[in-house]
Amino acid sequence: MFVDILFWVMAVVAVVMGAAVFVVDSMARATYALALSFVAVGVQVLLLHQDYVGVIVILMMVMEMAVMAVYMVMFMGMNPALMPMSMVHDKRKALAASTALFVTLAAGALLVPWPTRRGTPSADTTRALGEALMSSKMLVMTVVSPVMVATIVAGVVIASKRSRYDRLGDDLRGAPDDPQRGGVGR
């Protein structure tokens, strides 16, 4: 009973806040509406007994949206105060496409004869996840890790303005020519 009420409250929060992202006229509000939507989904994942994944969704998404807000302010190219913003194209087509998609997905969800439940959850789902990642599903871990490292490196390379050649000169032997020195005396 309690679980059902909490689920429905969180469902409403997730969907309403998700829609609010594209309705409200403030960058900060849009970003934090999305953060709330993610937190609500995180709670729902907790209700579906995936403790670790649920808490991780909340952790990561709040962090990501805090950073996202900075990018929003940086790239929206307008006064960060409350300004009306409607920067959309093909609004009608987009609305039609997403409505059609929702009808299709909803019909699928309701009409497909879902199979009955197979298997039983282990008593400690977090331990099960850890053991799966470190034994039978090790391949996932070994693939995701280099992808993550590659992402960090690629992200820095794409986004940084000055490469090490700009900092240290063509032979990489010069003194770093930084506008601001770092905190560890480089």
Partner: protein
């Protein structure tokens, strides 16, 4: 959450006791304010440090709210009042002796998720009033958070590895005989740095620095200011309280009952953290970011590696 009390060494008390957890947080925040007030009075050679917090509360409760043009009031209020809520949500996973209000199987990750919420709340407090000083403060905090958060996460990873569990109660009971602080001092130190970081305190208070007219706090007044300041003290208190089951053996100790030991240890850590403000200079967030990534993160990772090897060797 899967409630399987059978595997937990703790007694789960009814949800209503969350009120007591909140009261303890407020009490500890009050204590922290008194400690800081006494220290301030001593350095200024002014009398009556004990009454400082009470006077300040009375003053702020009577103060009229200042408003700013085009302020984003809902976000602003969320930010300034949220810190206290987050501190309470952190404290409820800390077992008081053998009782706990909330004992999720991933309690350590829960604490981490809550401390990440501080990112959002401090930035929102800076953003809300539509003031340049506030926003500068908010950005400073995010830059600093990028520096302390990853080392903090890895510092929090070390005790659960040694305890083979993410449940806070298991971590506390796993250190009978030898507290984790003894053989993971680096993780403990990095953790304390993280606590100072998310409490915007001492060397990490650039976001509320005097050079930006109070930064995030610049436009806060009256009740909002009271809630924000209390929230900061409460966050230090919550960080100190969480250090007890993670590094300081939980309720273990001679003579006194477990719950009292938890409180005593919390108060000792809290006092040290509060007094550190007068001993250390302010760290600029942009400089600290490099310190965090080039020194603290490798140090925390090395600590985790050592702990993992020991844990694997013990079996």
């Amino acid at each position: 959450m899967t409630p399987d009390a059978a595997t937990s060494p703790l007694t789960l008390v009814p949800v209503g006791w969350v009120v007591l957890a909140g009261a303890i947080v407020l009490g500890l925040a009050w204590l922290a304010a008194i400690v800081d007030g006494v220290a301030t009075s001593r350095s200024e050679a002014s009398p009556a440090g004990l009454g400082r917090p009470l006077r300040e509360v009375a003053r702020l409760m009577r103060q009229r709210r200042r408003t700013t043009v085009e302020a984003d009031t809902p976000l602003w209020r969320t930010g300034s009042s949220g810190l206290l809520v987050i501190a309470t949500l952190m404290v409820i996973v800390v077992p008081l002796g053998s009782w706990t209000v909330f004992d999720p199987p991933v309690g350590v990750v829960w604490f981490n998720a809550m401390d990440v919420c501080v990112w959002a709340l401090v930035w929102l407090t800076g953003w809300g009033p539509n003031s340049a000083h506030g926003l500068v403060g908010g950005y400073r905090f995010l830059a600093q958070a990028l520096g302390y958060e990853l080392p903090l996460m890895f510092a929090l990873v070390a005790p659960p590895i040694a305890a083979h569990s993410l449940r806070v109660g298991d971590v506390a009971t796993a250190q009978h005989g030898l507290w984790f602080v003894v053989w993971m001092p680096v993780a403990f130190l990095v953790y304390l740095i993280g606590v100072l970081g998310f409490s915007v305190w001492g060397p990490f208070s650039a976001a509320v620095g005097a050079d930006v007219a109070g930064g995030v706090e610049a436009e806060l007044s009256g009740l909002d200011r009271l809630l924000f300041l209390t929230g900061r003290y409460a966050l230090i208190a919550a960080g100190a309280a969480f250090a007890v089951p993670m590094f300081l053996g939980g309720g273990a100790g001679p003579l006194l009952p477990g719950w009292l030991w938890v409180l005593v240890k919390t108060i000792v850590v809290l006092t040290a953290l509060v007094l550190v403000r007068r001993r250390l200079p302010l760290l600029r967030p942009d400089l600290f970011m490099e310190v965090g990534w080039l020194w603290l993160l490798p140090a925390a990772l090395a600590q985790v590696l050592i702990v993992s090897v020991v844990a694997a060797w013990r079996g």
